[in-house]
């Protein structure tokens, strides 16, 4: 059931991001809800749930919006594993934890994309990517991640860890 709930949350997140959230672009950039949820699941519920979230979110994005199947799955999977491992050294209830983790995840995601697309022969302007994509997305993701992290923490404590079985 806990895996089902995780997958369902990712599915709902995907629907929101491709439809409703298109209206809340800031500086032309959308919050990456899938990445935010992968980070929140990986920190709050550790690696297995993080991987489940990563695979669900990644496969959905690969189906619809990727130039090759597997790119988003690989990126989110790497983020989930890395964040699960790194966040073990942080105090979970600290407000800084989700911010640091989403910063690592966002930069890591772009780093992987640049590497993959470089080998695919695409050309890009790195300074434009940093200024117009990474920085605004980092900011928006941080706001969303901080809010969802807190909300998720409260839901977990109210559920007394029974349903999600942490």
């Amino acid at each position: 059931m806990k895996y089902g709930l995780t997958a369902l949350t990712m599915f709902a997140g995907f629907l929101l991001q491709t439809t409703l959230l298109q209206h809340v672009r800031i500086f032309g950039v959308l919050p990456n809800l899938a990445l935010v949820l992968v980070v929140v699941f990986s920190v709050r519920l550790k690696m297995p749930m993080g991987i489940c979230a990563a695979v669900t979110g990644g496969v959905l994005q690969d189906f619809f919006f990727s130039p090759a199947f597997g790119i988003y799955t690989l990126i989110y999977l790497t983020v989930a594993i890395s964040v699960s491992v790194i966040s073990g050294n942080f105090f979970e209830e600290s407000g800084a934890t989700p911010l640091i983790m989403i910063a690592i995840a966002t930069i890591g995601q772009y780093f992987m994309m640049i590497v993959i697309y470089y080998f695919a022969g695409m050309q890009f302007n790195l300074s434009a990517i940093f200024l117009r994509m990474i920085l605004p997305e980092l900011l928006i993701n941080a706001i969303f991640c901080w809010a969802l992290y807190k909300i998720f923490g409260r839901i977990l404590s109210k559920m007394s860890f029974k349903i999600l079985g942490r």
Binding site: L15, T18, T19, H23, I71, A120, F124
Partner: protein, 278 residues
């Protein structure tokens, strides 16, 4: 073998498998697989519902959120309207203006004699990321939509059909990283051609093949007909011309005419029945 080693091997296998998939499927295009078709058909249906709801609330809230900006635009439009009225009274419709209008008609490609039919489609969902600029429409192979067909709206060129399912299709917009369009200047005396490409800079940039071409900011560009896009579709307006001493080519920046954030309905250019019959 301990648990840690097992996990490492499993992670390695997963990464290798995903890398294989990425390499095997890179480039896309063509028709989608049966699994993609099934997922696409059902999920697009739900997404369409979400999009309609989002657009409904967006249309109500946007004017309220932009009230100051709209007031400014309104005043600017009033001034522009007065200016246009003055011009209209004094203007005579010369031969040159007739040619301009004819060229504009061609640019917007309202299809007369071009051998195309229009298929109007709703945008079901848009790319969740910032890297690419794709969206999904609610028409597919069942309606005659196939890869490499041009997609437009009333303002001009939007992009091209990338992959198709039976009842849905993926569209790559011209501002996407992977997009490149051959253009010519919208000028009755100068038909210099070049290439514009999308990129991370949120607009189009490109170059003219002829380094001696007279090109200025404010000139409109249209598709040249070379390559996969039909001739005469309005792409955008040149916003900047960059001449670098070390380069032979003239580089340009282009502001696209279509607002990609607000498109909800597009038209796919299909070969007309007469052309198909031939």
């Amino acid at each position: 073998m301990n648990e840690y080693k097992k996990k490492k091997i499993m992670a390695g296998i997963a990464v290798a498998f995903l890398l294989f998939l990425i390499i095997a499927t890179f480039g896309g295009g063509g028709e989608t697989s049966p699994i993609e078709n099934f997922a696409g058909k059902n999920i697009s249906f739900i997404q369409r519902g979400f999009t309609v709801g989002a657009d409904f609330f967006g249309n109500i809230l946007n004017p309220v959120a932009n009230i100051w900006r709209l007031d400014k635009i309104n005043k600017e439009l009033e001034l522009e309207n007065q200016e246009l009225r003055r011009k209209l009274i004094s203007a005579t419709l010369s031969q040159k203006e007739m040619e301009d209008l004819s060229e504009m008609k061609k640019a917007l490609n309202y299809a007369e004699g071009k051998g195309y039919d229009f298929l109007t489609c709703d945008v079901v969902s848009k790319d969740p990321g910032t890297w690419f600029n794709m969206f999904i429409i609610n028409k597919g192979t069942n309606d005659g939509v196939f890869p490499e067909q041009a997609v437009i709206n009333g303002d001009g060129l939007i992009g091209i059909v990338y992959e198709t399912g039976k009842d849905w299709a993926k569209i790559v917009s011209i501002i996407d990283n992977r997009s490149s369009v051959s253009f010519k200047l919208l000028d009755e005396n100068d038909f210099s051609i070049g290439i514009v490409e999308g990129g991370a800079e949120r607009g189009l940039s490109g170059y003219l093949f002829d380094p001696k071409a007279e090109v200025n900011a404010g000139q409109d560009i249209i598709t040249s007909g070379l390559g996969i896009y039909p001739e005469g579709l309005l792409i955008g307006t040149i916003s900047d011309v960059i001449i670098e001493k070390n380069e032979l080519l003239k580089r340009i920046k282009v502001e696209q005419v279509v607002d990609f954030k607000t498109i909800n309905r597009v038209m796919v250019l299909l070969p007309s029945k007469e052309v198909q019959a031939q």
